[in-house]
């Protein structure tokens, strides 16, 4: 009796109920007791304009991914109230989520569907508009948020990219002597530390210009700067590119780090070449500048465990020995050399 009453109630009002459901749940489907689609909400109809859903069997149109092994209407009804994961069987196989609730009196069921995470693709694939979503649906807010966040992320990404570029440029500058393009003391400390850590043999040569102060005093700083740039070029030319590190560590002081080289004769030849080239007159603005250089070298092979500060100080001691010997020469460090004691005679 009660079943008949429900049916009597639902019958004449069915059109009214559909109108209400179309508005509240524009993606619902109404199933009959056998699992066939009687009616689909307006948004769902818009998704399959060429293949109307009404009249087809629900499980033939939709592939139920979860729960699995749902083959019949009875299986479907058993999954009532449970979250369903499904997708269209025909392309585009848009993913959907939904929930089924049986109609009273065993007259079938209503399945309400939603896009879930596939909303971004769906909006594009089906050209959906705000009107396709229920007024209470958060889809539009979600789309808004995705778009706003993407714009903000893009702005952040660009900022990070520019900051990264600026950081690299700043680091490059901080390791480079801007006047000569050589490495600076910071870079030299860095490279020396690395070479020591790898336990590779190496030599450190200190080069100090002679008579440079006279050039500066007589012809001015522009001439001095030009000489320093020429000196840098000469040292780069006399050393092995990519292997040796040439740094300007003070006004007219330079340090060359020879990686993997401790051969005294070879190092002596390099020093000789640098001194020889440096002594050639350097022209600047119609004037001739003449400088020379003194060199001192310490070899890692002379130490059981090379320490950066120790080896740098010893190369300096060797350099001062060259100055004492009358400049324009090269000396290897040995423990019997006198310690540098500034001021030297007639610096």
């Amino acid at each position: 009796m009660t079943g008949g009453a429900a049916q009597g109630c639902a019958g004449p009002d069915m059109a009214a109920w559909r109108g209400i459901l179309d508005r509240l749940c524009p993606m619902h489907v109404l199933l009959d007791a056998r699992g066939y689609i009687i009616h689909a909400g307006p948004t769902l109809r818009k998704l399959r304009p060429g293949a109307p859903l009404a009249g087809g069997r629900f499980l033939d149109r939709f592939d139920l991914r979860r729960p699995r092994a749902v083959m019949s209407m009875a299986d479907l009804m058993a999954a009532s109230g449970v979250k369903l994961h499904l997708r269209f069987r025909d392309p585009p196989a848009t993913g959907l989520k939904g929930v089924l609730m049986p109609l009273p009196g065993g007259q079938g069921a209503i399945v309400n569907l939603s896009f879930g995470i596939s909303i971004l693709d769906a909006v594009r694939d089906y050209r959906l508009t705000s009107g396709d979503f229920a007024a209470t649906d958060l889809a539009i807010e979600m789309l808004y948020l995705v778009e706003a966040k993407s714009a903000a992320m893009e702005a952040s990404r660009l900022l990070n990219q520019r900051l990264q570029g600026a950081r690299i440029a700043a680091e490059e500058q901080a390791f480079t002597d801007t006047l000569t393009g050589l490495k600076n003391r910071r870079a030299m400390d860095h490279v020396l530390g690395r070479v020591i850590a790898t336990q590779m043999p190496f030599a450190v040569m200190h080069v100090d210009l002679d008579f440079f102060k006279a050039v500066n005093d007589r012809l001015g700083h522009a001439a001095g700067d030009h000489v320093l740039q020429e000196v840098a070029r000469i040292m780069i030319d006399a050393t092995r590119r990519g292997k040796d590190t040439v740094a300007r560590t003070g006004g007219d002081e330079f340090v060359i780090l020879f990686e993997g080289l401790t051969d005294r004769a070879a190092l002596d030849r390099v020093a000789g070449r640098i001194i020889g080239e440096l002594e050639k007159p350097i022209r600047f603005d119609g004037h001739v500048c003449r400088v020379s250089a003194s060199c001192g070298t310490a070899l890692s092979s002379d130490y059981e465990r090379p320490v950066a500060a120790r080896i740098m100080a010893d190369a300096d001691t060797a350099l001062y020995a060259s100055k004492w010997r009358g400049r324009a020469c090269h000396t290897f460090f040995s423990p019997d050399l006198p310690l540098p004691s500034p001021p030297s005679p007639q610096g």
């Binding site: 971004l120 909006v123 594009r124 694939d125 050209r127 959906l128 508009t129 705000s130 009107g131 539009i140 789309l143 808004y144 948020l145 778009e147 706003a148 966040k149 993407s150 714009a151 903000a152 702005a155 952040s156 660009l158 900022l159 520019r162």
Partner: protein
């Protein structure tokens, strides 16, 4: 002030008058740099300073420049994201107007430290609205004037706007809706994301 605001001013000048013109204004304002970063925060005082420089260089009154900025923000292809995000507010112009109350909160969802003017819409009659604005920066009402005028076009609506300063330091815009379906308007495709 959030960099997005300053960046919008820069975008307006650069896209309308060219980068050289902007560089000149940045110099006149004594910025010490040329490009604002959208995602950095700047001293509040910088914004009026750069606006002064823009008005001086363009030889236009402030109200006019601000209204031009508003128009630029919702119509220039380089600012398409702004237009799209505003159009998400409603399917027609009236619904859009009602969404303005939520605008600062919506903006904060995407950029938490972005401080936008407080907007309050009052419906005087079905075709008459008044929008009051309050912000740290004076004159934003004129930016809103330009944006509203252009968005009305975008929705295909015909409106009359009137700007006035109220006594308590707020700005107010009177909006009279003459026709909602005046013209075709511009298409708004939910799925077409601004590049």
């Amino acid at each position: 002030m959030h960099g997005m605001i300053n960046r919008a001013i820069q975008g307006f000048v650069t896209d309308t008058y060219g980068p050289e013109r902007w560089a000149r204004m940045a110099c006149a304002a004594g910025l010490g740099f040329t490009d604002f970063e959208a995602m950095l925060v700047y001293d509040v005082a910088l914004t009026p300073r750069i606006l002064n420089a823009v008005c001086g260089d363009l030889e236009k009154p402030g109200d006019e420049v601000l209204e031009d900025i508003g128009t630029y923000l919702v119509s220039h292809p380089n600012a398409e994201a702004v237009r799209r995000l505003l159009r998400f507010g409603g399917v027609d112009f009236v619904e859009f107007l009602h969404s303005l109350d939520d605008l600062p909160d919506r903006a904060r969802l995407a950029v938490p430290n972005l401080d936008l003017p407080e907007l309050e819409l009052h419906e005087r009659a079905p075709d008459r609205f008044s929008l009051t604005l309050r912000w740290s920066l004076d004159g934003f009402g004129h930016v809103m004037m330009g944006a509203l005028r252009t968005l009305a076009d975008d929705y295909g609506a015909l409106v009359l706007l009137d700007h006035q300063d109220t006594e308590d330091g707020r700005e107010m815009i009177d909006i009279t809706l003459i026709e909602t379906g005046f013209a075709e308007g511009r298409d708004f495709d939910l799925g077409a994301r601004a590049g």
